[in-house]
Point group: C2
Chain length 205, copies 2
């Protein structure tokens, strides 16, 4: 499609701002902007205010580096959570994904990324040192669970963290990898299937 | 997925505002919000400002009812456009679509909708009276081209407008309907194919 000439600069500006968002093209941006124009002005105002408010006032938890409104996030501040467990994740979406399983009652440590030399992200660009300091400072931490994506970068980061934590005598585990629940063996990729045989677990009835 | 409990009310508010937009679910909204958090605060500010600015300052052209920054839109104000032609469309996206073809040099009239009893939209809810007044007031208008969607509502609106314009002696035409350029006959739906045979045109070499 050739570049569109909008009849309004305000419209042009709003559409181009919207289309800076990932996965939003100019056609989608125009549709969203025209939707806002059809709604009450108050909706656009509260939308704009919510974004600015978040951007300027959001904090990161001083303990786990998760997004938070307060200095310590609600998960870290919750006395009913198990302080002996710290689950290391890449970002806040992963925290939400694990919380949704309702299978985990420990704390988190959000790295804010994984080691990725290709993207210029080294160990000092993510929250690894603060994890080591946290484990050193808190004797109640018994186990660190590495829950990173099963990629080259995730594996590298797992390896780096486990080496850093080794001298501290804390137990380090990694989340199980194998065939997905509900998946048929036939359609599972070879690497996953191979690993799931190597890492087989005792059958519990 | 069960309802997510975000660790931040600011985040919760921003995500729920984003997910009010059509086609944006909570997962997409979270992804977009986290994208904004990774970027400079200035980007969020200019995004929020562009939306508020548009919502509060945008006007509609007093002639054609298209979106405009000024009282008369750039298309209506352009002396090089053919004042004898007025193309009736449903909304601004249709204006942009026709402009993109670069096949039309006349003016527009944006109805802001089509007659749709099911949605409670009658002839007085859209810009039909203003079209009739415009044709009455401007003797230079020779032809009104109806370019509405080929739906029941579009056809109803075409019929209504043509009846309203009949006493004024202006020529009323409708955009051609037939098989799409590049489409194979075999896969064209029966109604379109039937119409394209009934409305066949002389073969020009």
């Amino acid at each position: 499609m050739i570049n569109q000439q909008y009849p309004s600069r305000l419209l042009e500006k709003a559409v181009s701002e919207f289309s800076k968002l990932p996965g939003v093209g100019r056609k989608t941006a125009l549709r969203l902007v025209l939707h806002l124009l059809r709604e009450e002005p108050g909706q656009t105002d509260s939308f704009a205010a919510a974004l600015s408010d978040l951007r300027h006032n959001v904090k990161h938890c001083s303990v786990c580096h998760n997004i938070s409104d307060t200095d310590v996030c609600p998960i870290c501040a919750n006395p009913h959570r198990d302080e002996a467990l710290v689950c290391v994740v890449e970002n806040i979406q992963d925290v939400l994904a694990i919380e949704n399983t309702q299978q985990y009652n420990g704390l988190y440590h959000v790295l804010g990324g994984v080691i990725s030399p290709m993207d210029g992200i080294g160990p000092n660009d993510i929250e690894i040192d603060s994890l080591v300091e946290r484990v050193q400072a808190h004797d109640e931490i018994e186990e660190v669970i590495l829950a990173l994506s099963s990629t080259m970068e995730g594996d590298t980061t797992n390896f780096y963290i486990s080496r850093k934590l080794a001298p501290l005598g804390v137990k380090v585990s990694v989340i199980a990898r194998g065939i997905s629940v509900g998946n048929e063996l036939e359609y599972t990729d070879e690497v996953t299937l191979g690993r799931s045989i190597v890492n087989r677990t005792p059958f519990n009835t």
